[in-house]
Amino acid sequence: MRQPNNPVHDRISQEVGDAPVVLFMKGTPVFPQCGFSAAVVQVLSALGVRFKGVDVLSDPSLREGIKSFSDWPTIPQLYVKGEFVGGCDIVREMYQTGELADLLKTHGIETQAA
């Protein structure tokens, strides 16, 4: 849970507010370091949505902090307009059912679905 006066949580709040779609992942969108992170990058790319990738491997405090921030024990984690959407399974399912495209549209986020 988000804790006040936790500097890592403050930083994460800032990161998730920084762009409409933010993905906390292992590695970078160009060079993902984990299959699950790569799968989410693939979904976002397929939807043609611009997103910011945050590499948790670059900072151990971030890697631990993101888990308590969202009360979610695994990475990747996708945020849309500051709200936690889910990890790899959830993002993939929501892509397949069309819910992810709908969610992005609801928030006025541009996609270029092929």
Binding site: C34, G35, F36, W72, D89
Partner: protein, 91 residues
């Protein structure tokens, strides 16, 4: 099934009384990756059908499983992908 998987299955059965429960050890597919251990039991896929999931969204369902398996996820289990369904959604 190994020791870690047996423990996870027992906790899931006790917590959810699932009508379907499958835990697949996919560690071999992740051999050599970060978090993989030489003795396996690091990467799992879970299929679980239980009443407890009825009416809950995807995030809430997975959180129930995370809570049930918190010790394992903080310990030997590096990755757990899952399909969580209420009985009427089962296939």
């Amino acid at each position: 099934m190994g020791r870690v998987a047996d423990g996870m299955m027992a906790k899931l059965r006790a917590r959810f009384q699932p009508s379907r429960l499958e835990l697949i050890d996919e560690s071999a597919r992740h051999a050599g990756h970060a978090g993989a251990r030489p003795d396996g039991e690091s990467h799992f896929h879970l299929i679980i059908v239980a009443e407890a999931f009825r009416g809950l969204g995807r995030v809430a369902r997975q959180r129930l499983v995370h809570t049930c398996l918190a010790e394992d996820l903080a310990g030997p289990v590096h990755a757990l992908s899952m399909e969580t369904r209420a009985p009427e959604e089962a296939y």
